[in-house]
């Protein structure tokens, strides 16, 4: 299991008070260093899966292994290995970008000169070096997304989980974020990525799993999936074919 970053075995989860499982019997494997896309329509179970992967949500049955360690038993050791970029702008909007990042870095035990260097590095690489002193609430949507991303990578996690990291940003910010993720992956970071932008997933990821109604309906190498049927021309056509055109809430 040495080169498997994430292994999910038959995970099921039903929220308290709900009769319908949010995810049911999901199994997945993500290799170390992979760029893995977790795709699906609204309410398919993507965010639930990510919350389970990060240990933020209890699951009812099954097992999750991160770098070979069982999540529930080895959570203390696993936590520093994971970076999370949630769908929400998970920042304090009355703090400056620099204050937000300093807080997060120090909570990960990065202090002093090393902390300052790392914060500056993350701000610079995401094009925020000159705006680090501004309160986050004064940022544009794209800038907020970039700080949100910086906050997830400050502690140099081995596995970076991103939930819709480019939602609502302009083309320039999106392009920068995707380039940055690509670069991060080249440096060895395993990337788990969810998005509704399928062309974005197609260009970034090498493997995907499409889930719907809480179950995995297809998984594998993107090229292999697209080539598996004549009617599949791109990832979007695969997606629509498998999940249908019915509107989701």
């Amino acid at each position: 299991m040495g080169n498997i970053a994430i292994k999910i075995e038959n995970i099921s989860k039903t929220y308290l008070g709900s009769l319908v499982p949010a995810v049911k019997d999901i199994s997945l494997e993500v290799a170390s260093g992979a760029k893995f896309g977790l795709l699906g329509p609204n309410g398919a179970g993507k965010t639930t899966s990510i919350s389970i992967l990060t240990g933020l949500l209890n699951y009812d049955s099954g097992n999750v292994f991160i770098n070979g360690m069982e999540l529930k038993k080895g959570y203390k050791k696993i936590r520093p290995l994971i970076g999370l970029v949630p769908q929400e702008i998970a920042l304090y909007d009355t703090l400056t970008a620099r204050e937000n990042l300093r807080f997060i870095a120090e909570m990960y035990g990065i202090r002093g000169k090393q902390m300052r260097q790392r914060v500056d590095e993350c701000l610079d690489v995401l094009g925020l070096g000159h705006n680090g002193h501004k309160q986050v609430r004064k940022y544009s949507g794209g800038m907020k997304r970039r700080v949100n991303l910086a906050a997830g990578i400050l502690h140099k996690p081995e596995i970076l989980i991103l939930d819709e990291p480019t939602a609502g940003v302009d083309v320039q910010s999106r392009s920068m974020i995707l380039d940055f993720l690509d670069e991060l992956n080249k440096q060895g970071t395993t990337i788990i990525y969810t998005s509704h932008y399928l062309e974005e997933a197609e260009s970034l990821c090498n493997e995907v799993a499409i889930i719907d109604y809480g179950s995995v309906i297809i998984k594998g190498n993107i090229r292999d999936i697209i080539n598996s049927k004549a009617e599949y021309t791109d990832l979007e056509s695969v997606f629509l074919h498998l999940t249908g055109r019915k509107l989701r809430d």
Binding site: G55, L57, E88, L91
Partner: protein, 424 residues
Amino acid sequence: MMKLLTSITKETLLLFRDLGGLLLIFLMPMVLVFVMALIQDSTFRKLDETRLVVAFINEDKDSVGFAIEKGLIESDMIDIVKEYDGRYFERETLIKLVNEGKYQVGIVVPRGTTDKLREKAEYLVEKALEDDNDPVVKPEIEKSSVILYFDPVIKHSFRETVRMALSKLTYGIEARMVFDRFAMRVSEILDTETILEYDPSGIIRLEEHNIVDKHTEVLPNSVQHNVPAWAVFAMFFILIPLSGNIIRERNSGSILRIRLMPGSYVYTIGAKILVYLLITIVQFILMLLVGIFILPLLGLPVLELGNNVFALIIMAIATGLAATAYGLALGSIFNTVDQAAAFGSVSVIILAALGGIWVPVFIMPTLMQNISLVSPLNWGLEGFYTIFLRGGGISDILPWIGLLIAFSLVMMAIAYYFFSQKKN
């Protein structure tokens, strides 16, 4: 420890950049103390140490009139006013002003009162020294009167206060006049220039002691009630910014990131408790300073702190902790800032009303006095009363501290339960 300090720094920055929250925390209670202490001052004085303002006319302008005037001026309970619009009262004006409620009591010592009393004293002395062969004929002496006018709405107790004060004065004057007359006649009979001196202090002295212990119901003045009362109220209002902080942190997703940080959730909650607890203590100190230095400038009494500073600090910490824990619980239960703010503020106002913050418990009906015991704001207030009014120390406030700590623990347990439910 470093993580705790980091979290404390973050919480402090967040708090100090929330201007609305700061105004709510610091300004609102001070305004409440000013307004409520001023409004309630006269009410508290009436309960305890009211000085009646009495309109007074001395038509007699002789011994009795002057003696009554002097006695009233020296009284602890009565202030006399002799002029209106720069002119001495006339009887019609006095009656009119009392009737209009401008003054609750009017006193008139009619012309000739001293003369009538003198005649009566003379008769009594002569009668006492009467020679059987030369009986003293009782003269036709009209009874002398001191006339009292009362506002019809005056409380019975006030009416009695004035009556008692005047009775005491007139008996004293009467006795003195008889005594002086008698002493003069005795000197004449004995053919001596030595005249007995009247001793107005009397023979029987009333010796008063205030027995104050923790069971004594001591009535506070408006400052001693309002300063601790609104300080406790303000401390509990900390729940608005605190619960808002927790909910915003959760709804923004920051909490997800924090929960992923090693061991950080405990530090985050710990930092919140410490920072907001410290804020409640600062609130309390500021309110005390207002009571000591600012309210007296408005003519209100100075706040007396009692004599046990350590007990005061412990009491403030226990109250602040209860308030912080309540905010923590609400932040964990509710999903939106609006829900928590609405429930939180209404619940604190109800608990304040029940707990004797708005209206002191001692003037509530018995049923409400019993109900007040369920309010943590009442526990805080009673603890401060014990220190300020009854001279209580640590052992005296232990029951209130115990209740506040127990309340804090229950609130923290509730918060823990709801926080852990978010993982399900």
